[in-house]
């Protein structure tokens, strides 16, 4: 067993009992299909279920009472706690399992329910059940209490670690901007916007800067999700029953309503200690590797948290339990752990992987960055890269599973049931195909399907564009009427719904016919004038369809397409068209969209292609935009 936090911290012991709440549910669905059958916190990480690490960390930090709050699979969590005899193992801690009784959709709901139970009596530590950390809680809590002495309104201390934005521990696209007061560590700003939505400039209201002499602006803070909360926070959550997420709702809520609520939040920035949370398969991979590489010491596989574990660490961070049968020519390269009763065949290479107990890995298998839980069978010649295989999964002969950027989750129990995580994890649920059958065949089939789908897409777009073109041609004839824009918008909208197109698709289809007329003018000057007239008239229509950044991009593409049609008659006024759209005061088109389009096209454009010429035509405009993007007031086009 790992060293226990038995060293009695006199300071804490004399005061009231230190409590902690563990949220044994992440209220997310990143680990489906695994989490259909088991709670996330019981998923093995390294060699033991995740929650072991969290509880061990709390116990070592001197927590005396832990409340484990469960929603999904509550019974299983409870059973595990009881059956694994956790309370006795942790010795210094009394464990209580709280099962959710009502509908609990978020951490906010969970805390509201905890409050209702009335078990929390003083400041407590709040941790999700999937946090792995080796930081020492005592100084953190002491600092929290000291701050409470000074500032009675401090309701929360969050713990963040300094991790560069490009670090692998970051979830893809996870970007946040945090501002702290340099003197006190008070949280002044918390902005979790996605990258896309960020302007080129961060705008800070002057009022924030009055709070402190040293305004620490961080883009490198990683949220460990470890919080030290006060009972007041629970009351606050009770009052603001619409706060769901502890980060996205609670933090902006408290910060934004400072005038009204008068509550403050402080942030403790870790320097050397390890703390990370398992959010999704990617972070599962990262945290597993950190564990194997001993970053979270004393939380390492050979700490053997569970009774009956017998991992020993050998060179290159390779861990083996007793009773592993390893063929002579099999190679365990590095950063791997092999559980008891596992057999590994000849010429098999295991690298950066965790193989659980009682697995059978055949001959000539390659495992790289894979996590095989218990009883997995990998038949001869299979190659697995970046997979998580649930209990009892069977991987077929010569199967190939590779995951590219995302990790492949293989559901437990099934025969090569494949669950592919689409890289764009933000997309909707139905975008994730679930396929049955053997892995190797499956992947190739799927690719074919995708190919066909894109072709189909093109055809549909073409049909839609034709319909739109005809509609607009009719409308242009009767364009003199006052309500022409309204009518056309209505009809186009109908068409859009009928064909199930997005706004971006519509914009792409609408722009070319609208501008087509302008191309007929003989001179460039006349064309510009025509363009101006056309845009003046139809901009309100476009405005209705341009709803997002993506639509703006589509608008640029539409203009580019317009230039392509009509014998490229509009090519020479391409930049004028963009400029006219850009100059409009209703934010129809912003420079980001144009620049992004240019950047994308620049990469693909071939020598002498239409895109190339379009870029050349718009060269001056792009330069100018880039300049003004830099907020450069000088005119440097000399």
């Amino acid at each position: 067993m790992a060293p226990k936090g038995g060293k009695k911290d006199d300071d804490l012991a004399q005061q009231e009992v230190l409590q902690a709440v563990v949220l044994a549910d992440s209220f997310a669905s990143h680990f489906r299909p695994m989490t259909f059958q088991m709670p996330k916190v019981l998923m093995p990480l390294g060699s033991v279920p995740m929650i072991e690490y969290t509880l061990e960390f709390l116990a070592a930090g001197g927590v005396q009472e832990i409340y484990i709050f469960c929603c999904a699979h509550a019974d299983e969590v409870e059973r595990y706690i009881v059956e694994s005899d956790m309370e006795r193992r942790l010795a210094t801690v009394s464990l209580h399992v709280l099962k959710s009784q009502g509908e609990c959709m978020s951490a906010g709901d969970a805390l509201r329910e905890v409050e209702a139970r009335g078990v929390i009596k003083s400041d407590f530590v709040l941790v999700p059940g999937d946090v792995i950390a080796n930081l020492s809680l005592a100084p953190l809590i002491a600092a929290h209490k000291a701050r409470r002495e000074v500032d009675r309104d401090a309701v929360l201390t969050t713990v963040m670690a300094r991790v560069p934005a490009s670090h692998r521990a970051r979830r893809g696209g996870e970007e946040k901007l945090v501002a702290l007061s340099g003197e006190t560590g008070r949280l002044l700003m918390y902005d979790e916007a996605v990258k896309e939505g960020w302007a080129t400039k961060v705008r800070l209201p002057m009022a924030l800067l009055q709070e402190t002499d040293r305004f620490e602006l961080h883009r490198d803070l990683y949220d460990t999700h470890i919080d030290v909360c006060t009972p007041e926070l629970l009351v606050l959550l009770q009052d603001n029953f619409d706060w769901q997420d502890l980060r996205r709702d609670l933090l902006p809520g408290v910060l934004g309503q400072f005038e009204m609520l008068g509550k403050t939040i402080y942030t403790h920035v870790l320097s050397t200690e390890y703390a990370a949370r398992v959010h999704d398969p990617h972070t599962y991979d990262v945290v597993s590797r950190d564990l194997l590489q001993r970053w979270a010491f004393p939380l390492v596989p050979d700490a053997n948290l569970l009774p009956g574990c017998s991992y020993r660490c050998t060179a290159h961070c390779v861990y083996q339990e007793a009773g592993v049968s390893l063929a002579r020519s099999a190679a365990i390269v590095r950063d791997s752990a092999i559980g008891e009763g596992t057999t590994i065949g000849e010429r098999t290479v295991v690298e950066g992987s965790v193989v659980g107990r009682d697995c059978v890995v055949g001959v000539g298998v390659t495992l790289s960055g894979c996590y095989l839980w218990g009883g997995v069978i990998v038949e001869d010649g299979a190659t697995l890269t970046g997979c998580i295989c649930g209990e009892g999964v069977r991987i077929g002969l010569l199967a190939k599973c590779s995951a590219g950027t995302g990790l492949t989750l293989l559901g437990p129990g099934g025969h090569g049931r494949l669950w592919k995580v689409v890289p764009t994890a933000a997309s909707l649920g139905f975008d994730r195909p679930v396929a049955q059958g053997q892995c190797d065949d499956e992947l190739s089939e799927e690719e074919d399907e995708e190919l066909e789908e894109t072709n189909l897409e093109d055809v549909e777009n073409e049909q839609f564009a034709t319909a739109v073109r005809e509609l607009i041609r009719d409308a242009l004839r009767s364009a003199d009427k006052d309500d022409a824009v309204e009518n056309l918008a209505l009809e186009l909208n109908g068409l859009k719904f009928g064909a199930d197109r997005t706004f971006a698709d519509s914009v792409r289809a609408i722009v070319p016919p609208l501008l087509a007329e302008a191309a007929s003018a003989p001179t460039k000057k006349a064309k510009v004038a025509n363009l101006k007239r056309a845009l003046e008239k139809w901009a309100p229509l476009l405005k209705k369809f341009v709803q997002s950044k993506a639509d703006q991009r589509a608008l640029v593409e539409g203009v580019a397409a317009a230039c392509e049609q009509a014998n490229e008659g509009l090519l020479e006024v391409f930049d004028h068209a963009l400029k006219l759209l850009y100059d409009r005061e209703d934010d129809l088109l912003d420079e980001q969209a144009i620049l992004k389009w240019a950047a994308a096209v620049e990469e693909e454009a071939e020598e002498g292609s239409l895109e190339e010429r379009l870029l050349q035509q718009a060269d001056g405009l792009l330069k100018w935009l880039r300049e003004s993007d830099d907020e450069e007031e000088d005119d440097d086009d000399e």
Binding site: V150, D151, E183, R203, L204, A207, D213, F215, R219
Partner: protein, 499 residues
């Protein structure tokens, strides 16, 4: 070829971005304004002398003040520096002035505003500049921390700069004057945050108006003809350009590269000659220097090397050199990068820095220097005790230790002089109370005058019984007996009053 000095110095003795000291500067150039009976310029010259890095200094002035300054330099200046007076056009801003004297500047140069009194260890600032191979290093003073938990009022932010520095407080990442923030919003560019994910925006730093520039910055000035002020235009421009497209710096870079290839010879020479003195330290140095592409990085690498070796007395110069070599190598990777740095004077260090940019600060500067070693490292110019032996002169009885008295001052009995500077040849009557005032030379104060927080310029007279509070009296003016003035400027035309 005589060794090229590492740094040149430029003092703006009569060039300021705006004139806030009127009417004091009506009859005197800024540089000759007496502070504790010494001209302001002497403080800047002493700062440069103390750092032992300078032989020559360029003092910029306008036509009007040339003769006065020239007289002072030739007759009163006793220091070792060779002072070269250069005339720039009237009403020139600091950037204009630099542009004008461009031909005289060949290496990295220090730009000191004419109104600065500081005893910052200049060597430290120069070390930072060398180590970072900076394009610009600015000097900032940290103000004392305010009480914990007390938020500033909105008006406290007026007139300050929002200074973005990196973790170590060495790189200057953003500068924005509060006055320039439109709509009460301070903006920080994302590109900056990408390069430096942790930026500290500080509101407690005060620009000391002392900068070190790389010589190619002058090329930028050529390019940007409309820049008037170094502080308000050139510095923010450079700071901003660190992380943005270098496209419109390219011309300047080209010119800089051309100059650098010339300058590099000298710099590398000095490394080679200095290399013998510290063989172990230079072991890693020269390769890095010679490998550097022949652009700005090269001069910087060379400059850094020669500086660290030459200033062998500086703390940790050997390790500093190793770092310099490392920096040079890193700079090779992104050689079109340049840096802006800042040297921050901590508020608790025994370093003095004040800009005499307002009347209040002028009086404060007088007081501070009068207090001598308790506040600054400068000495006041004072007639030594016992030299005035005139009968009935109570000059040494009536003063407190926070005051400065010039030569041949006559003071009648029962007069109290507190926290004040009295210029040479002043005559002060009986029963006079002078608190926190500055009297320049040849001022006559009648009996029973009471003055506080006031400045009286040369050859003026304050007659019997007058009472002055927060008043500035211009040169050669007579304040009538019994007059009562408060918060005014009294100039020659008695009737017109200025704010």
């Amino acid at each position: 070829m005589p060794p090229r000095p590492e740094f040149q110095a430029v003092i703006l003795a009569a060039v300021a971005d705006g004139d806030t000291l009127a009417p004091l500067t009506n009859s005197l150039p800024l540089g000759l304004l007496p502070v504790a009976n010494r001209p302001l310029l002497s403080y800047q010259l002493e700062l440069l002398t103390r750092s032992h890095s300078f032989k020559q200094v360029l003092v910029l002035t306008v036509e009007r003040w040339l003769s006065q300054l020239a007289t002072w330099v030739s007759e009163s200046y006793k220091g070792p520096l060779q002072v070269e007076l250069l005339v720039v056009p009237d009403r020139a801003g600091s950037a204009d002035a630099l542009r004008h004297v461009r031909a005289h500047i060949v290496t990295d140069f220090v730009l000191i505003a004419g109104d600065v009194i500081t005893d910052v260890p200049f060597q430290r600032m120069a070390d930072l500049h060398r180590l970072q191979g900076a394009a610009m290093t600015a000097l900032y003073r940290e103000s004392a921390p305010r009480e914990a938990g007390v938020a500033k009022k909105a008006k406290d932010l007026d007139g300050i700069d929002f200074v973005g520095v990196d973790e170590r407080g060495q790189r200057l990442l953003s500068v924005e004057a509060a006055a320039d923030c439109e709509g009460g919003v301070v903006s920080v560019s994302q590109s900056l945050l990408r390069a430096y994910p942790h930026v500290t925006l500080r509101t407690d730093l005060i620009d000391a108006h002392v900068y070190i520039f790389a010589p190619w910055v002058l090329d930028v000035l050529e390019l940007k003809e409309h820049f008037v002020s170094a502080k308000f235009e050139l510095v923010p421009y450079l700071v901003r350009k660190q992380f943005l497209s270098k496209a419109n710096l390219s011309k300047a870079k080209l010119a800089a590269a051309r100059r650098a290839s010339g300058a590099a010879d000298g710099a590398v020479d000095s490394v080679a000659s200095g290399g013998g003195g510290a063989p172990t330290a230079t072991g890693s140095g020269p390769p890095a220097v010679t490998r550097a592409p022949s652009d700005v990085a090269c001069t910087k690498g060379g400059g850094a090397g020669s500086g660290a070796v030459g200033g062998g007395g500086a703390v940790g110069s050997a390790s500093a050199f190793a770092m310099a070599a490392g920096e040079a190598t890193r700079r090779q990777l992104d050689h079109d990068d340049f840096r802006c740095c800042c040297y921050i004077m901590p508020h608790d260090a025994a370093v003095y820095c004040l800009r005499v940019s307002s009347l209040k600060e002028y009086v404060q500067a007088n007081l501070d220097v009068s207090r001598e070693s308790r506040v600054t490292h400068y000495e006041k110019a004072e007639a030594s005790e016992g030299t005035v032996v005139k009968e009935g002169n109570f000059v040494h009885k009536s003063r407190d230790r926070d005051s400065t008295l010039g030569e041949a001052v006559e003071v009648a009995g029962r007069t109290a002089i507190k926290k004040s500077s009295i210029g040479p040849h002043c005559r002060i009557g009986m029963n006079v109370k002078i608190t926190n005032c500055v009297l320049m030379d040849h001022v006559v104060i009648g009996d029973k005058v009471s003055m506080s927080n006031s400045v009286v310029c040369s050859n003026s007279e304050v007659r019997e019984g007058a009472s002055l509070k927060d008043v500035q009296v211009a040169a050669g003016v007579t304040v009538e007996a019994g007059a009562n003035h408060k918060g005014e400027s009294i100039t020659e035309e008695m009737d017109t009053e200025e704010d």
